[in-house]
Amino acid sequence: MSDKTININVPVLARVEGEGALDIRIENGNITDLKLRIFEPPRLFEKFLEGRHYTEVPDIVTRICGICPVAYQMSAVYAFEKLFNTEITPWIDAMRRVYYCGEWIESHTLHIHLLALPDFLGFTNAPAMAKQFPAEVRRGLKLQGLGNEIIKLFGARSVNPIGVKVGGFHKAPEAETVEALVDKLRAALPDAKALLEWLATLDFPERSQEFVSVSLQHPFEYPINMLDTTLVSDAGHKLEINAYEDYFKEHQVPHSTALHSHLEGNPYLVGPLARLNLNFDQLPTEVKGILNNTNISFPSNNPYHNIVARAAEIYFGLLESVHLLEDYQRPASAAVEVTPKAGTAYGCTEAPRGTLWHRYEINDDGIITFAKLVPPTSQNQARIEEDLRLSLEALGLDNDETTLRQHAEQVIRNYDPCISCATHFLDLTVTRE
């Protein structure tokens, strides 16, 4: 064991969303300090929402993120509809599920092919990987494009879409447009299946870690939207959405402009692996069949299996979209009447990166007087730091700084952190003494 002190500084972490840095101090062979620094200035969206009418919220929160705008819209509209006792039609709930599947497909394919997969295959970036795997990258881009098309179908555009309102959608897609898209989605099912089969057989490092998985759960469906869901953990929690703050506490840490979140004092995991760990039985037979034929058993406590969970959710998203759209009937109205009332609105849905919880205070005029949005990256930040410590120790702290740095970056990328959402990119500093 080395008795020197090493400081590893990663001043710019590549292939993550936003800007951050990593500082690690190793003294006498032990990590004595580890900080995932997020220094991007706060974006103040919660304050922007104060004083705005509830009807403006879907078009404002869509601006929080270019990759997961649907999630922000969905957590908001379900929150208001619950407070207002608005009963949306089964058509609206089902089409919002398709809309959300589009975002999962788009976000997960981008993360796999442009950010995470080069790490697993030993490349420095996506173009380098594409030299050796052009067909696989083309397939990934094709799937990503289909995700965008689904979002555009309901949101009028794929980036910062604007088709959602409290009570439903502004407009229902034409049947002919849906029919044409369903044909393309159905034709892409073998691509999504092949992607999952490929990734599930990658040679993953053995990393068995103790962590708590948290996700929404629905009695009959794989969780996406809020209706009929509870917030569950594999530590036995089964919570109503409005009880979130009784168990989950956000706190400020000096090295981050994003808040850290703990579940009863401890780090926890949200996102694709947590969802799969808690809801495996709700996956379609086609997806479960592939996963059951691999060497991975779910629930899994190996964080590297996150990339497999993403691929599983891409295949699920396509299957679910085809299933919900193949008998599409255009309704007379794409929205129901909404009667606002004052009170506290709680919303929670499953963003691509994990559970996204909202709380709004609304007055008699329908004006937002307070807003709190808890994004998945904030919730995963403490878990990432915990994983980094465990993974680097498992790798061996005597490794050279380049190896430690590359491994640390892979660990972080594996969570697909959206630092932009949580408030942005990694700078690693390792200090050894």
Partner: protein, 153 residues
Amino acid sequence: MNSTLIVGFGSPYGDDQFGWLVVERLNIALQGRDDIRTICCDHSGIDWIHQYQPVDRLIFVDAVKSDSPPGTPHQLTIKTGELDSLPTTYSSHGIGLREGLALATEVIELPETIEFYGVALAQCHVNAAATEISIKQVEIICNDLLKTLAIRL
């Protein structure tokens, strides 16, 4: 017959509509030209790759941020073989044209050169129309492009 693809990048906001306005104007002038295809894309990263079929000539049109005064036209031609040398940063929130092109060189068949036409934007505010100076450049760049495509308005 040589084939051409013109890609207009943009958004509905102010001068960022420039690429879309150029394509809209060209579509009127290019009716009946089966050898020329135009598309509009929401953002410049990789969306165009989904719609790409191999062509002899590839032209990108977009509003640009530059140190030049608003309305200043920018035009450059780059050899596809030199795209590897473009600096790139990868984040799914930040896939610009450079990153998209670096990826495209590996997964699709690009022509030997790629042409870029742009204009320095004045503003891209929500709900704002394109500025007059930008709209004037739409006409100028359309005329330049149509000359190179051997057709006149």
